[in-house]
């Protein structure tokens, strides 16, 4: 116990005037009585009384002095150091990233962190305030800055760990908006410290409470399917992010039936690969699991799922006068059968996709088309040569496409209808457009406004990616343009009212904005009437699989290692308000004694009975 304000002991000098006043107070009031005879006798009895009774006479003085003592003791503001508690305003950043689900501390890192926060909340003083920020992919405040413990505990109980990586920069922005960096505000970070390097930017007083003690984890980091001559084969990669070599039993199942199982030796910090052939090519989906491992503290990355699209074939018609780059790019795409022609063939067969390379032909109604260079679908209004790259819109066909090194000599200015949106724009105008029409001749279209031969695009890495993305978007493998592999929490664009079967077997109908209940890894199947299919939700987050805690994380401007943090994770708990409360009670007692005299149980002599009359 220590004192914050020892100079307040000077207030103890107030005892002097109190005692002086008590001595001066013995100015007696006059009261006539019929005779002092009996009073004198009563006093004579009292003279023989003990010291205690003389003390009792000064009870008021004693009570006043004790009251003063308590008040002075409250004014010097004594405190005790309470471990793990906080005082003042505090912002708690609670890491809810996937690595917090690791079970190296029982029951899990997240639950351990939750217990620590609960201790912090219960240790809050009367005037202390706290706010909780849950840090996952989209950090959010669970409660406002408050001193209401029950509100904070309710908010804490509502927190759930996510399968995302933590977005620490957004969390820091949120903390700063809440008041981090202020004089009396302390920011507490409860995290395993993995992948939290951004925390060095946290302003003001900050404190890091490390959670977790082991980084041993094996994960299935890849599962892919491919069609081979012998049928369907799967490729599994198991990564060991721990510090010791690991023997891992991995099993592979096709539509729930075991295909193969194998023990893999995975060296520390490395990976092992396994290729399994002879899988039933008609299987809808395949999943790989880690069934046994010595030291594996994160469960969520122990399974991976893949949807088999190898048995679906799409037919594309390439209309060109000869373009080796384009032919190569299309021919390399799995599941796509390309028919090359120089003119529109007379047969009535409809193709899933029409690719027009500088050709002006009439397309059948509701066709999906990739239009390159000169085309006859949309009118043009001249040519522009100011083709410096400006920006890329977010669109499935532009995913992973790096346009920065692409040079285009000139491009056509297309009078595109409203539904055709620019995807890649240059200073002069759009270079690539894409869109989906509800009623026009075309259903889906991707338009490249320049001739491939008048650019170096076919020589760039961007070209095959753009073509692959475009084909995938224009003629999806499952009829619907549904991605085969999504991350947990991602929204899957599925038409409204599509029935989706969750991995648990439950059926859910997709809403207007697609299907969002992808919070559990696994295989999701859907039935949209004209198209059936499946997609896999995979954790497959390599960085979150590396769960090694980093207790020496730099948080804020001070570099605090774990020991310093633990020793500094104490707070000064003042208890002056208890002392002031006791002083108030004593003051009330003093007033009561003054008004009423001593209570009956303190009196030594009982009240005598009146003489008989």
């Amino acid at each position: 116990m220590d004192l914050l304000n020892p100079s307040a002991f000077l207030f103890a000098l107030l005892a002097v005037p109190i005692i002086l006043l008590y001595l001066l107070r013995l100015q007696r009031r006059e009261q006539t009585v019929s005779s002092t005879l009996l009073w004198r006798q009563a006093t004579m009895d009292r003279e023989a009384n003990t010291l205690w009774q003389r003390l009792r006479r000064s009870l008021l003085l004693i009570l006043q002095l004790i009251t003063l003592a308590f008040l002075v003791f409250a004014l010097v503001r004594p405190y005790v150091n309470v471990p793990g508690a906080v005082s003042g305003r505090s912002i708690v950043l609670l890491d809810a990233s996937a690595s917090m689900q690791a079970t190296d501390v029982a029951p899990s890192r997240f639950e351990a962190a939750r217990a620590r926060v609960r201790d912090l909340i219960n240790g809050l003083g009367v005037n202390d305030q706290m706010t909780l920020i849950l840090v996952d992919g989209a950090p959010r405040a669970l409660s406002a800055l408050t001193s209401d413990k029950s509100q904070l505990l309710d908010a804490l109980d509502s927190a759930r760990p996510s399968l995302d990586a933590a977005n620490w920069s957004a969390a820091i922005a949120l903390a700063v908006a809440t008041g981090a960096g202020d004089e009396d505000t302390t920011t507490l970070v409860l995290s395993d410290g993995a992948h939290a390097d951004d925390l060095g930017l946290l302003p003001g007083k900050a404190r890091f409470i490390p959670i977790g003690n082991s980084g041993d984890n094996v994960a299935i980091s890849a599962l892919t399917l491919r069609r081979t001559l012998r049928g369907l084969s799967a490729f599994v990669r198991v990564t060991n992010s721990g510090s010791q070599d690991e023997r891992v039993l991995v099993s592979l199942r096709a539509d729930g039936a075991l295909v193969d199982a194998r023990v893999l030796n995975v060296p520390a910090g490395a990976f092992a690969e396994w290729t399994i052939g002879n899988i039933n090519p008609n299987a809808v989906a395949v999943d790989a699991r880690i069934d046994e491992a010595q030291r594996n503290f994160l469960a969520v990355d122990d399974a991976a799922y893949a949807v088999n699209t190898a048995n679906t074939t799409r037919h594309a018609l390439l209309l060109t006068r000869g373009n080796r780059f384009l032919e190569q790019a299309l021919a390399s795409l799995p599941g796509l059968r390309v028919t090359r022609a120089a003119t529109m063939p007379p047969d009535a067969q409809t193709y899933d996709l029409y690719v027009l390379d500088n050709m002006t032909v009439t397309l059948p109604a509701r066709a999906n088309a990739l239009l390159i260079g000169a085309q006859s679908v949309f009118t043009t209004s001249g040519v522009f040569s100011n083709t410096d790259y400006v920006r890329t819109e977010a669109h499935p066909i532009a995913r992973n496409v790096d346009w920065r090194g692409v040079n285009v000599l000139d491009a056509q200015r297309v009078n595109a209808p409203g539904w055709l949106r620019p995807v890649i724009e240059s200073q002069g105008g759009p270079l690539v457009l894409a869109g989906e029409s509800a009623k026009d001749d075309l259903q889906r279209a991707v338009l490249i406004t320049f001739d491939l031969r008048r650019s170096d695009l076919p020589l760039q890495i961007a070209f095959p990616i753009l073509i692959a993305n475009s084909v995938e978007w224009l003629a999806p493998a499952q009829g619907l343009n549904v991605p085969l592999n999504v991350k947990p929490g991602e929204v899957v664009p599925i038409p409204e009212n599509t029935r989706v079967t969750l991995p648990s077997g439950e059926e859910v109908v997709a809403g207007r904005r697609g299907f969002a209940q992808t919070d559990r890894p696994g295989i999701y199947t859907f039935d949209a009437g004209q198209a059936q299919g499946a997609f896999a939700v995979n954790f497959s987050n390599v960085s979150e699989s590396r769960i090694a805690p980093n207790p020496n994380l730099q948080v804020g401007s001070t570099n605090a290692n774990a020991e310093q943090v633990e020793s500094r994770a104490t707070s000064q708990r003042e208890f002056w308000h208890w002392l002031a409360g006791i002083a108030l009670v004593l003051l009330l007692a003093e007033w009561w004694v003054y008004q009423r005299g001593l209570p009956a149980w303190l009196r030594t002599t009982p009240r005598p009975q009146m003489p008989s009359r």
Binding site: E30, Q31, S34, W39, G597, T605, P606, R607, P608
Partner: protein, 305 residues
Amino acid sequence: MLSEAFLQSLRTLRLNAPRRRVGSLTGERRSVKRGRSVEFADYRNYTPGDDPRRVDWNVYARLERPYIKLFEDEEDLTTHILLDDSPSMFWQPDEEADGQHLAQKWLCAAQLAVVLGYVALASGDKVVLETSSFQRFGPKRGVASAAALIAFVERVSATDKRDLRAAPTGRRQPLNAWLKRYALDARPGLCILISDMLDEGGYTEGFNALGNSRLDVNLLHTLSADELDPQFTGDLRLKDVETANHQDMSLDDAVLSQYRQRLTAWSEAIAAQVRRRGGRYHLTDTSLPIEQIVLKDLRRAEWLV
């Protein structure tokens, strides 16, 4: 001072003399000594137990109802009422009200004196009333003197109050001196002392003197509620209204409790003194209504029958 209705209700009462004394018998009571009647005084109704020889047969022959002849002289009982009017009898705790009206304590004592005197007069006794300031009424007998008795007590109240205001402590008469002086020329009989007994000099000598003069001392001990159960608290300087002595006290519950213990012991000592001399003792709280004291408490204590 007392309502007519209350006085009427007293007419059926009599003073109960606990024992008979030779030479001090009233006509009300059966005589052990032959009456030497010299002077006719009055008739009264025959009551069972009266000596049939004293029935006036001539009257009986005429009216066919027995009457007893009463005679003056030593055959009657003299009732001595000694009313203490020392300043302590006029005390009341709040001095503000002092000038407005008489203290409750004195009023009660004066009313008791009138009641006892009236009962004695009504039952044919001779009544003498003396105050401690030596103002005397009587001896008188017969109910006709009741008005004079009431007027006397009222006069005493008025003069005492005036005197007290002029000199609050100057008129103190020690209890012993008063009783001894009264005993000198008192006829034997029933003696009723109405006093608070608050006297520094005590009371034993006075009681002895009265006893020697063959007076039965009956004590009506009048104490006010503020004396029986005082409610003072705090640091006080207690002033004696009679002696101007003062006593510094810090009153708390413990002191008050001591006071009540002393009061109990003191009143019991007085009661023992009175009873040892064959008299009766009654402690009266003067804050009670006079009707309750007279018609209930005194009858229960068998002072009045």
